[in-house]
């Protein structure tokens, strides 16, 4: 099991969502992906995608407009 961090700060639609999906596609079951960004809509939409994919949303944090979403595959 590995942990991977992705930084999409400053990126806009649809890049944060797409980068999250690309990382999840490459990950193995049990792997943890931590994605950090600043695009406001993605903070809601990445968790929606996690649910649609049937994966585990571990945590969503936000500070000063920068959010971090943690997902377990």
């Amino acid at each position: 099991m590995s942990e991977q961090k992705i930084d999409v700060t400053g990126e806009t639609c649809p890049v944060p969502l797409v980068e999250a999906r690309k990382a999840l596609k490459k990950a193995s079951p049990g792997d943890v992906i931590e994605i950090t960004g600043s695009h406001p809509a993605s903070k809601k939409e990445i968790p929606m995608a996690v649910e649609a994919l049937g994966l585990e949303l571990v945590d969503v944090k936000e500070k000063d407009g920068v959010w971090t979403i943690t997902i377990r595959k």
């Binding site: 649809p14 969502l17 797409v18 690309k22 995608a49």
Partner: protein, 139 residues
């Protein structure tokens, strides 16, 4: 089988090709399958060096308007069409090129981006894709 999105890309306008690729990528990212069926003016964008060449659908002003929008998009850090289409392929998106359009426009396969195209088809291919799709759009 996963839910599917099928989009007809009829327009070759830059802003509309953006819409098609953003929606396609969004569908794939949210766990759906996706197919883009390029026909008529949309097909022009699958020619070699053609992807970024589309005019704006409005206020193109001989390319001036497009330049202005492009500089604003760069400031907003919007991904290029090439990056979006590469991401689309990486996430398993399918690209279908309309054979009849190729015949009408006199385009040969070797003039096309064969690195992107999965299949050459006609209306039956689209219907077959669309009948299994939860979302289908004509752009």
């Amino acid at each position: 089988m996963a839910d599917k999105t099928t989009i007809i890309v009829h327009s070759g306008d830059m802003d509309k090709v953006y819409s098609a690729l953003i929606i396609g990528n969004g569908a794939l990212s949210m766990g759906m399958e996706a197919s883009l069926y390029f026909t008529f003016w949309g097909l022009e964008r699958l020619k070699k060096d053609g992807l970024e060449k589309g005019p704006l659908s409005k206020m193109n002003m001989g390319g001036l308007g497009k330049k202005m929008i492009e500089s604003r998009m760069e400031k907003a850090n919007v991904a290029s069409l090439e990056r979006l289409i590469q991401d689309y392929k990486e996430l398993g998106g399918k690209i279908i090129a309309c054979e009849m359009t190729m015949e009408i426009m006199g385009v040969e396969k070797d003039e096309m981006r064969q690195d992107l195209i999965d299949e050459y088809g006609a209306v039956g291919t689209y219907i077959q894709e669309a009948r299994d799709s939860k979302i289908t759009l004509f752009i």
